[in-house]
Amino acid sequence: MREAISPAAAAALVRDGSTVMVGGFMGVGSPHRVIAALVERGARDLTIIGNDAARPGHGIGALIDAGCVSRCITSHIGLNPSLQKKMIAGEVQVDLVPQGTLAERIRAGGAGLGGVLTPTGVGTVVQDGKQLVKVDGRDFLLELPLRADVALLRCYEADYYGNLTYRLTARNFNPIMAMAATTVIAEPDEIVPIGLIPPDHVCTPGIIVTHLVERPH
């Protein structure tokens, strides 16, 4: 059983200097209430792993604006000129990873794999410093798993075991991040009694979700 905690209590679980996976795609499916609480508490020196940097003031963009972030592992920052400027100024380190590779690396981290071979990035700058492995005469890059201290998820429904469902395109990176972090904090739109989510509709099992954020008022 998980007791629901406040966004501020959730933010307190995210230590300065830690690596944090944040669900969402352009802020859709991001845990905005926990993000606001992180900004509020003045978190510092976070390494953020997320699909993109959203927009200034929004989602991961809000964390960057507030100076919470020292490093960003992400596939796209094109709609966040603030991060682009901080990157050029050397205030935030940005590691660009192809989106499908980012997803596979996070999945590998959660699935206990030592890495995966992907054709993506072969013959591009993404190849730099990576092992090239030939399988059946075709070149692949060995991409290594990603894990985090904390995963911050947004979900649609949760029950008090922490079982989660997601909604449409707000699903995105959330289910794979749920598997790849030590502390897993889910911010639901709604919390329902145990047993109300059919077993076939649960998308993330409660046993791996360590904390549940109270529903919005």
Binding site: G100, N172, P175, I176
Partner: protein, 216 residues
Amino acid sequence: MDPKEIIARRVALELRNNTLVNLGIGLPTLVSRYVPAGMLVAFQSENGIIGFGACPPEGMEDPNLTDAGGGFISALPGAYAFDSATSFALIRGGHLDMTVLGGLQVDAKGLLANWLVPGRMVAGMGGAMDLVAGAKRVIVAMQHAARGEAKIVPELTLPPTAARPVSLVVTDLAVIEPTEAGLVLRERAPDVQVADIVAATAAPLIIPDTVPEMRL
């Protein structure tokens, strides 16, 4: 006809029934307007949906239902929502029949550069590298030239998106197919002459005896 409309209409002729297609942000998105009547194409948005439709009327948007650019969309009957690992399993695993992407440069070997201009603001590759590495057919939809400079060049001067050549390049002037032998000029836009295309192209072109006009 508007150059973008020419490109979008011509690319739409490449669509096939019962296929899975990904359209990049920007110009490629326009292709969905010109799906031939009666043809069933499943459009994928890489943020996690197959079978999406246009933006719903104001006030009926759902904040959990957006395209890869964050714009509101709707779900058609039979739509499928999925996570990012599944999305790129579909793209990388040979399930995506076609992707349509914008381009900064295409070279004589058919290599595409579309994600980074050194010295300018860095955007990131997003899903472009996976799409070019993984889709069965990669179609580049772009203006033939940008600010008077040719975008079809002998050799890329910008960083490549993948080591794999694209399948077809559709511009407001021409349809060009990269082959082992080089770039073949397949079609010309309405009222455009072969000489105009050659003049606007920095890479060498193989020109067949007949270069028909696009049938839009």
